[in-house]
């Protein structure tokens, strides 16, 4: 009958569309249709596991939908089909209970093996403590005296559509995590505020960063390159804007990088030994503010009440009496709220300059200056 034919064609078209695109997905892995095979042994194993279960599912669909569409076609009432009377059959029911069970076992065996491998964090050569913050990552190379924040570097103007979007739009950072090739890297994951998740598809690592607890994971990269990922657990407003960049480099380059990192830290600390001018503090402070504070308190200090208070024109930032409270707020944060402690993660120069900036920007004009040395002495660094 014509109507059925039309219906059938619609269904077939749809099925063809879906089958076609899935097939395309399976052959073309570079254009972003499918899971990337990645650059570690584990990631390739995960990829092949994924493809195995995917093809099993395709095969099941073909059989199941095949039987179904054939029945729909063959037993149309419009073609005079008369219905049969059977309504149970123990043998076939046992068969179609048993076969799926077998298929599932076939899937579970390699899955178990791969999972065990992924859970084996022993014998790592490098330990990195990764801490999620709203909304940035912090990497601390344990035993190396190196630690730093990693912030998204995509300019806000690109996001607002005022500027053309770059190639790595939203997946680029100011300071990537750098690791040496061929070394087993163990990451220890935690968070400072809410739950985040550290995910780099090419490494097949996705693990939650949970405040107060530590999770472990590991990877070993053999191919040099930059591998990008994103935070994968809803963590508040800028969850979509906390990317990850892992840069895998040869050992010598890694060592050099570590050294340069240490030198930079020493130079930064030295900043607290000298007197800064207002202009210096304001310039540095603006940079720090926009990187670390603007996400909550907004670029113009207007805040997002009632959760994120305004700093422009109100509160401790304009109150000459509350200079000490202001310093304490930034240095120690406020537990039970989103306001993090910056004293032990930013340098004294950064803390001092951002407080100075807040007390003088956006018409706050208190004229107060906070010197890095003051912060250093306060925190006993």
């Amino acid at each position: 009958m014509k109507r059925f034919a039309l219906t059938g064609i619609c269904f077939l078209l749809l099925a063809a569309l879906m089958a076609g695109s899935t097939y395309a997905a399976s052959i073309n892995t570079s254009t972003g249709w499918n899971m990337p095979p990645g650059v570690t042994d584990v990631s390739r194993e995960v990829y092949s596991l994924h493809m195995t279960i995917f093809w099993i599912c395709v095969a099941i669909s073909v059989v199941v939908f095949g039987a179904m569409f054939w029945s729909l076609f063959a037993y149309r009432k419009s073609k005079g089909a008369k219905s049969a009377h059977f309504h149970e059959n123990t043998t076939v029911e046992v068969i179609w209970t048993a076969i799926p069970l077998v298929i599932l076992i076939v899937m579970a065996v390699p899955a178990t093996a791969t999972l065990k491998k992924m859970y084996d964090t022993s014998n790592a050569e490098i330990d990195i403590l990764v801490t999620g913050y709203q909304w940035r990552w912090r990497y601390e190379y344990l035993g190396e005296d190196v630690s730093f924040f990693s912030n998204m570097s995509t300019p806000r103007d690109q996001i607002q559509g005022l500027e053309e979007k770059g190639d790595n739009y939203l997946v680029e950072v100011d300071e990537p995590m750098v690791v040496p090739l061929g070394k087993k890297v163990r990451i220890l994951l935690t968070a400072n505020d809410v739950i985040h998740a550290w995910w780099v598809p090419d490494l097949a690592v996705k693990k939650d960063a949970i405040p107060g607890f530590i999770n472990e994971s590991w990877f070993l990269v053999n191919e040099p390159g930059i591998y990008r990922g994103q935070c994968a657990e809803l963590c508040g407003r800028d969850h979509g804007f906390m990317p990850i960049e892992v840069k895998a480099v040869p050992q010598e380059e890694y060592d050099a990088w570590l050294a340069s990192r240490r030198d930079a830290a020493v130079a930064e600390a030295a900043g607290a030994d000298r007197e800064w001018t207002m202009d210096e503090l304001m310039e540095r402070g603006a940079g720090v503010y926009n990187t670390y504070c603007a996400a909550c308190h907004q670029p113009e200090g207007q805040g997002l009440p009632p959760v994120f208070p305004a700093l422009a024109g109100v509160g401790m930032s304009v109150d000459p009496e509350q200079r000490a409270e202001h310093i304490a707020m930034v240095a120690y944060g406020k537990t039970g709220t989103a306001m993090p402690a910056f004293g032990d993660t930013l340098s004294p120069a950064e803390v001092a300059s951002v407080i100075t900036y807040e007390r003088n920007a956006w018409g706050n004009d208190t004229g107060d200056m906070v010197q890095p040395s003051e912060i250093r002495d306060l925190l006993g660094k």
Binding site: L129, L188, G212, F213, I214, N215, E216
Partner: protein
């Protein structure tokens, strides 16, 4: 079936119930959020009491008027049974939380088990139960906890006894011995009320002398969560028993038709069983 299942006509009680429950929720919400709204909360609570009175009065009148049959009785029984099951699951969630904290979370924080690396974050923390020192000392644990073999033991005895007395009262009802019924019911209520008073004393002591509060880390949190919701249920149960007592005094219930009494009794036994769990896992072990 020859008898007809009773289908009530339209009723104003459910919608009034919705209004007062909504009023309570709104009042509670704005009280917690904005610090005002107490009048709403109180009106709502009073309204709930009023609705219960009116709605149940209708039901009682229908029941006394002979409108119900055995099938209706079964509906009520099943309804009450499943309701108690839902309460069991409510407490199960809290017990589950308690066990999870004790078996998994605290050892991990202390460096044992699958997530032992966590101890890196809390180098000075040692797990114990009751948890006297929290991972972050600024939260602060309790100074001491309640000794199970003092007031809690008395309370256990009280509640278990009250289940027995209630059963005796029930048997008296089935035998048609009204005086005995009344006395044992009064006894049960008295035991329940004494339990509540003792629980109150214990709370005051915990809060003011032992430093055991809602804020004193996970021990205080689970302690007050479990005992608090249990206490709330004892209170409700006691109110139910008091209502039953009034009905007994008015001559309600017959030896073989007294569903409301049984429902109240089931509820009371359920509250009792929960207490045994509490006594064991909150106080003793």
């Amino acid at each position: 079936m020859t008898s007809q299942y009773y289908v009530p006509p339209t009723s104003k009680w459910p919608i009034i119930a919705v209004i007062v429950v909504g009023c309570t929720a709104l009042g509670a919400g704005s009280l917690m959020t904005y610090g005002s709204g107490l009048p709403f909360l109180l009106i709502g609570l009073a309204g709930i009491a009023f609705v219960m009175y009116g709605w149940f009065r209708d039901v009682i009148n229908e029941s006394m008027g002979g409108l119900y049959d055995m099938q209706m009785d079964r509906s009520f029984r099943q309804g009450m049974g499943w309701f108690i099951f839902s309460e069991v699951m409510f407490f199960a969630a809290f017990f589950g939380a308690l066990f999870y904290i004790r078996v998994f979370a605290l050892p991990w924080l202390d460096g044992e088990g699958a997530k032992g690396v966590t101890a890196l974050l809390w180098p000075d923390f040692t797990a114990s139960w009751p948890l006297m020192n929290t991972p972050d000392p600024s939260i602060g644990g309790p100074d001491a906890v309640i000794n199970p073999w003092t007031l809690p033991l008395i309370n256990t005895i009280l509640l278990v006894t009250s289940s027995v007395t209630l059963t005796i009262a029930h048997h008296a009802l089935k035998e048609g011995n009204r005086a005995k019924l009344k006395n044992w019911l009064i006894g049960t209520i008295a035991l329940g009320l004494v339990f509540l008073v003792i629980q109150g004393i214990e709370y005051v002591e915990a809060w003011t002398q032992l430093g055991l509060t809602l804020q004193s880390g996970i021990y205080g949190s689970t302690f007050f969560l479990l005992t608090g919701f249990h206490g709330l249920h004892v209170t409700i149960g006691a109110i139910v028993l008091i209502v039953l007592l009034f009905r007994v005094m008015k001559g309600h219930f017959t030896a073989d038709n007294h569903f409301a009494f049984e429902a109240g009794a089931w509820y009371w036994h359920f509250v009792d069983v929960v207490w045994i769990g509490l006594f064991l896992f909150v106080y003793v072990f």
